[in-house]
Amino acid sequence: MSAHAEAAHHEHHGPPEANKSSRVDARVLGMFLFIASEAMLFGSFFTAYFFVRVVNPGAPDHWPPEPYHFPVFVAGVNTAILVTSSFTMHWALQSIKRGNRPAFLAGMVLTFVMGLAFLLTQVVEYLSVGFNTGDGAFASVFFGLTGLHGAHVFVGLTLLGMVIVRGFRGHFTPEHHHGVELPGIYWHFVDVMWIVVYTVVYLI
């Protein structure tokens, strides 16, 4: 074996480098697959929602069917809370990137509190909305769609909670904050989905 070839072999230890024939970065591919699966999941619920809405007897003028009403204002305030939580999430990540740990922790706690406020407000909304899942197909798709989103918020809160615990234990640095970045992406995704849900269900 030549000296050149030997040098090449000495550079690498351990098992051979994995073959990556697809040339697609595994993290990008994973995120694409995740978004695609979420789009299909929410898409199926939106399809059911639009079908029920179009075939309701009062379409398109009366939605939801009389005598029910959606709490547009409360949901609007809730939307503002959730969108604001994305800003604090972004602030938290930027802070840890700059090495500002107090601002990072403050941002994470604020994000968590606002996410929790959103979820609790949604629960209160469910209890006071004036209809239940047995009151018609419209009620079923309403609770299904908003509940599906609520489940995503719950998962996001769990992730944020873990970040906060790790943050208070001194984890994460300006160089190593991948554990904040990924929950941040998920949180923004949950926000985007809520914008769509709020627009479609409450406003249009």
């Binding site: 050149h4 090449a8 550079e11 040339r23 398109p60 941040g184 992406i185 923004h188 914008i195 406003l203």
Partner: protein, 214 residues
């Protein structure tokens, strides 16, 4: 293409864009429901167009550390239907005459679109194997040391697999003339030059012209 959720900052930007888009749809819907629908479709169209036009950063060129003696040229030959072409054999002969050289021929099992999508690869692989065997025999007859194998249906994947086992110092890619290439061959030469830091020689083999002269 770049994912709008490739990073937290990108996802945050996408959220802000979503809020703006939703506001436009809501205002248009309050004016007229059909206008809202039209605005929604327009936004989806614009968003799709922008997304498809985005190009992610090009991946770094793969560095190949060749095996074998430093004075030996290790040539990876990529060819399928043109594998027995005179132009290709001439090019290989020139390399062999120039000095010490070894050749490894990869014949991607090129296939039609429909058969690729339905994984009907066996006939294509059998045909590629026949052509490869005949060519290797012919090349060895004229004194060139060569080995070879059938590669993946996608030439880029076939090359990537061969590079990992053979570690060439250069590549020779043989294709049909432009316009007559298999759909899987299009853009392969440019893609290989972008991906690898070794010389890539393109040989065009016009089998139809040869058949006309016979």
């Amino acid at each position: 293409m770049e994912s709008p959720f490739r990073s937290e900052a990108a996802a945050f930007r996408f959220l802000l864009i979503s809020i703006g888009a939703a506001a436009l749809v809501v205002v248009a819907s309050w004016i007229d429901p059909w206008l809202g629908f039209a605005v929604f479709l327009a936004l989806v169209g614009v968003g799709t167009w922008v997304y498809l036009r985005q190009r992610g950063p090009a991946p770094p060129k793969a560095q190949i550390h060749p095996d074998g003696p430093p004075d030996e040229r290790r040539v990876l030959v990529v060819a399928n239907e043109t594998v027995g072409g005179e132009e290709l054999l001439e090019a290989l002969g020139e390399i062999a005459l120039a000095g010490r050289a070894r050749f490894y021929v990869v014949a991607p099992a090129l296939n039609s679109r429909l058969k690729t999508w339905t994984s009907d690869e066996d006939p294509a692989r059998a045909a590629a194997q026949q052509r490869l065997d005949a060519t290797l025999e012919r090349v060895r007859d004229i004194g060139i040391e060569a080995a070879g194998a059938i590669g993946d249906v996608d030439p880029l994947v076939a090359v990537e697999d061969a590079v990992r086992t053979y570690r060439p110092t250069e590549m020779v890619v043989s294709t049909h003339p432009e316009g007559r290439s298999n759909w899987l061959e299009r853009g392969v030469v440019g893609a290989l030059r972008d991906r690898y830091d070794i010389p890539v020689t393109h040989v065009v083999v016009d089998l139809e012209a040869r058949d006309r002269t016979l």
